[in-house]
């Protein structure tokens, strides 16, 4: 079997977080009852006309700048013509030959390797409505019902160069792209809810070949995991075809997550002829450089800049990368470290106990009940010596229930670490008296025996004795 190189390009659609739709003033609020955020324009009523939302342009520019693109001064719109029930005019207003951004890139990391992935273009377009099928899937349904609440919601389509060479790089690109978009605050990037959608163009070529192979487009990738699995499956599928001396067909396939395969979506019809032509109901948009500069100046701090800042604070690279990975984590960290100087300690709690909890409960830090200031307080209590790390975990568990302030909880539960030497001495003496064998063992040179004795003191003090003091005192008393 030959060696093949995997070539992947990603097309990502991001819903922009504007208050109103791209071409009408209907609300974009998610979750409303069907067909309640609609008007003659987004319903495609006879005589209705589109009017461009300024915020959409602003957000597209912001995304383009964050992705290192050239922002094009001259912009126009085009009609992309095809029939489908969720498309209320049976054409989509999009940008064909003059997209708003071109020639960008982002830097990704896979393990230790750094790589730059090119971004071909970004353009603005409108979303279609939603189809609710009567059956479980589109092919097993007798009928569908169309909800146009989503019709007209603004999207940007981000097309990458075919620079990725496998599932890991593709995942890294998508993760970094998602992080950057979250940081620019133009999209809430919820893949499960569909505000961030990804299609993958996958092909393989024999090592040493000069031209790319025929690619297949894979749709319905709803998570990072799905993306990786789909790429691996598709590559294997294509390899088998080529090894059998067959040809890969250029087509659109859908990812069937339940069965772990890609399936052909080819219908009897020919490939779509979209018959693009300039949208006569809209006039061109000429972006002046002053406005683009203004947007550039007002950009929120992007992941790369944040990472640097966290490294300067002294965080180890691994921790910093993990924290900066999502804007929510990074914001939580920034908020929390306003209340404690121990950035490393705070980061460790976030990446340790907090992350473990979130993973188990399948939550993100956005839904995390414990506020950053309270977590910071916990860290401070440990550092001050008021709370042992072991008991801190107990307090943390309590905080998960209702975000009670740790200070108050410590008092309530009576968990304050005891550092009073007098009180400790009393318990130490008792333990030494009750455990003569261990004392003898220690004196005979079995250093480990002290561990048992420390344990006994901790038990007798309900974990509250300051372990450092206990250890020293035991040693002193057994001289």
């Amino acid at each position: 079997m030959k060696n093949y190189i995997t070539v992947v390009g990603l097309e990502v659609h991001a819903e922009l977080k504007t208050k109103t739709k791209a071409f009408c003033s209907c609300s974009t609020e998610f979750g409303a009852k069907p067909n309640t955020h609609v008007c003659p324009v987004c319903l495609g009523m006879p005589g209705a006309l589109p009017v461009m939302n300024k915020k959409v342009v602003e957000f597209a520019i912001r995304a383009g700048l964050a992705l290192n693109c050239e922002i094009k001064n001259f912009n126009k719109f085009d009609r992309k013509n095809y029939f489908y029930p969720d498309l209320s005019k049976n054409y989509q207003i999009s940008q064909f030959d003059k997209p708003i951004c071109e020639h960008g890139h982002i830097d990704i990391r896979v393990g230790d390797q750094k790589k730059t992935i090119g971004i071909t273009r970004i353009h603005m377009e409108e979303d279609a409505g939603k189809l609710v099928h009567s059956g479980t899937t589109i092919s097993t349904s007798d009928s569908s019902a169309v909800d146009y609440n989503r019709a007209g919601v603004p999207l940007i389509e981000i097309v990458s160069e075919p620079d990725m060479r496998g599932a890991a790089e593709a995942r890294a690109y998508l993760e970094q792209l998602k992080a950057i978009l979250e940081y620019t605050d133009v999209c809430d990037c919820k893949m499960q809810e569909g505000s961030l959608r990804c299609d993958a163009n996958i092909s393989i070529m024999p090592e040493g070949a000069k031209e790319f192979g025929t690619r297949a487009e894979i749709k319905n990738l709803n998570s990072f995991r799905a993306l990786e699995r789909a790429i691996d499956y598709e590559v294997a599928r294509q390899m088998e075809i080529l090894e059998d001396n067959g040809h890969v067909v250029q087509e659109t396939r859908t990812w069937d997550d339940a069965n772990g395969v890609t399936l052909s979506m080819r219908s009897k019809e020919e490939a779509h002829d979209y018959r693009y032509f300039p949208e006569p109901d809209l006039v061109p948009i000429n972006l002046d450089n002053a406005w683009i500069e203004e947007i550039r100046q007002g950009m929120p701090e992007l992941p790369a800049a944040r990472l640097e800042r966290l490294l300067k604070l002294g965080l180890p690279e691994e921790s910093a990368i993990l924290i900066v990975n999502t804007k929510e984590m990074a914001d939580y960290f920034d908020e929390g470290t306003k209340h404690t100087k121990d950035v490393k300690g705070f980061a460790n709690w976030m990446l340790g106990d907090v992350s473990a909890y979130l993973n188990t409960e399948n939550l993100t830090i956005k839904d995390f009940k414990v506020t950053p200031d309270h977590l910071a307080e916990l860290v401070e209590l440990i550092n001050k010596g008021t709370l042992s790390s072991k008991l801190a975990k107990k307090v943390f568990a309590e905080m998960l229930k209702g975000n009670e302030a740790p200070q108050a909880l410590v008092k309530k539960l009576g968990l304050e670490q005891v550092s009073d030497e007098g009180a400790i001495a009393k318990i130490v003496d008792e333990v030494l008296a009750k455990n003569p064998q261990s004392v003898a063992d220690f004196k005979a040179g079995k250093g480990k025996a002290i561990g048992f004795l420390v344990g006994q003191v901790m038990k007798a003090s309900h974990g509250k004795a300051n372990p450092g003091i206990v250890n020293k005192m035991l040693k002193d008393k057994m001289q």
Binding site: P46, G47, M52, R79, Y91, R275
Partner: protein, 488 residues
């Protein structure tokens, strides 16, 4: 004279002076409709209850001594491709036979603000595609000057209603001549404003870069009054021009001294009926008499205008009419196995042959492999046509042409599509360049009205109106009444 024979400005005076009431006037027009519309067939929908209610409101206002606008209480007709909330909107098509509009077009909102009375919706060519009103799914409209002849199109119903006394003023729409040509066939005034003067929001789109809404009236003064109301920037229409609307009635002066009137030779070509030419020559003589200067000019790309239009307009229309798919509204073929089949059958059964022809022509010229040769080429030729006008307007102030090369011809003349298309040669270039154009009566040919067209520079309706008004006041053509018209 019957009440329905008067103009808007005359009736406004009569209403103000309480000589007549709006209810009386509105009833008189409805009586007239009942009397003649089974012969003319100008109307598709009548809205009598709402009209009389509105008329009563205006009467109450007048009784209370309040000021009223010129169109207040004066009943008019609206072409059935303009959206009026709660009223059936058909575009003369089976596919919208039972469709009720859910919002007011911008022009309707403005007319409501001026408290006018709406009589109903008038017949037209299906989706404005045609020059005779014969492609209407519902009925043929007959020319009140000779019931065996066409009223022109696509605003045939509105123009016929003015000629037969079935409306005092009317709105039409014009994409390649659909206001001006029917106005000329019916002996009335019709003006297509500069592109972007009047909002298209609520006017069902045929060809977006060419469509404009405009008035069809008895005289130039009435046209100016309607323009005053309907013109203006609309935030709902991105192609609506952010320019001030002057008081167009101030342009109505009898003064053409020194006005340079261009005669573009390409508009007087071989296909022009000699009797039409005769009327135009008489008009030129009249203008000379009144002090204007007649200048021979040339618009060299005129011969390409018709085919360019019949590439661009169908292309835009093919996309504009894609929304009629039986999903959200309109005719739906009920027993279909799938949505694609449902859409195909609904459109096949719902659209007439001319609409289908133009949709397919449009799809073809935009399709892969043909876009450059047809659509892109046509867009480039459009630029050349515009440049022709720009050049000519450096030398003259307005252009004078026949509105149509021929007067109204017989119904059901069975001409092949291309022959019919070629008759739009005099009106199409005006839409291609987005210029203002008016048609006013200038004579007769074998008893049928002949219209002359004045074309102006962009946004220069004022010069066009002045030139038209001067000619009108110096002649009596606008006073002629169709044989089907009432007594004088």
């Amino acid at each position: 004279m019957a009440l329905y024979d008067y103009t808007v400005h005359e009736l406004h005076e009569q209403l103000k002076s309480k000589k007549i009431s709006s209810v009386e006037l509105t009833k008189a027009v409805y009586d007239r409709i009942a009397q003649v519309d089974d012969q003319v067939k100008a109307y598709l929908t009548l809205d009598k209850e709402a009209a009389l209610a509105q008329a009563a409101k205006v009467d109450a206002k007048i009784a209370a001594g309040e000021e009223i606008k010129p169109l207040a209480g004066v009943p008019g007709a609206i072409k059935d491709n303009i959206s009026m909330k709660g009223v059936r909107l058909t575009c003369a098509s089976k596919i919208l036979e039972n469709f009720t509009a859910i919002y007011d077009a911008h022009v309707i909102e403005k007319l409501r603000q001026d408290e006018t009375v709406f009589l109903g919706k008038t017949n037209m060519d299906e989706f404005a595609m045609g020059s005779t009103t014969e492609t209407s799914y519902f009925q043929m409209t007959h020319n009140p000057w000779d019931l065996s002849r066409v009223p022109g199109g696509s605003s045939g119903g509105s123009a016929a209603a003015i000629a037969s006394g079935e409306a005092i003023w009317a709105l039409g729409s014009d994409t390649g001549g659909s206001i001006r040509q029917p106005a000329s066939f019916n002996g009335c005034v019709g003006i297509k404003p500069t592109y972007g003067r009047v909002s298209r929001y609520g006017c069902v789109a045929f060809a977006s870069s060419l469509d404009q809404v405009g008035p069809i009236t008895r005289d130039v003064t009435d046209a100016a009054l309607v323009l005053n109301t309907i013109c203006g920037l609309d935030a709902h229409d991105s192609t609506s021009q952010p320019v001030e609307v002057p008081d167009f009635t101030k342009a109505l002066r009898q003064d053409v001294k020194g006005l340079r009137i261009g005669i573009p030779k390409e508009f007087y070509g071989e296909g022009t009926d000699p009797k039409v030419k005769l009327q135009l020559e008489a008009a030129m003589a009249k203008y000379k008499e009144l002090g204007a200067e007649i200048v021979e000019v040339s618009l060299p790309h005129t011969e390409y205008a018709v085919i360019t239009y019949y590439i661009i307009a169908p292309a835009e229309a093919s996309a504009n009419l894609a929304r009629f798919d039986g999903v959200r509204y309109g005719y739906r073929h009920k027993e279909a196995a799938s949505a694609p089949e449902m859409t195909t059958l609904s459109r096949t059964e719902g659209f007439g042959p001319e609409v289908k022809r133009r949709i397919m022509l449009g799809t073809y010229v935009l399709s892969s492999g043909y876009y450059d040769a047809y659509y892109k080429k046509a867009m480039q030729v459009r630029t050349l046509i515009r440049r022709d006008f720009e050049e000519v307007f450096k030398k003259v102030d307005v252009l004078l042409t026949p509105t149509s090369p021929v007067p109204a011809y017989k119904l059901d003349a069975k001409m092949d599509p291309l022959t019919v298309y070629m008759l739009d040669v005099t009106t199409i270039p005006v839409n291609m360049a987005g210029l203002p154009g008016i048609s006013i009566p200038c004579g007769f040919a074998d008893g049928m009205p002949v219209g002359m067209q004045l074309i102006g520079k962009p946004l220069d309706e004022e010069t066009v109106l002045r030139a038209a008004y001067t000619f009108e006041q110096a002649t009596e053509f606008h006073k002629a009444v169709a044989p089907l018209g009432g007594k004088k």
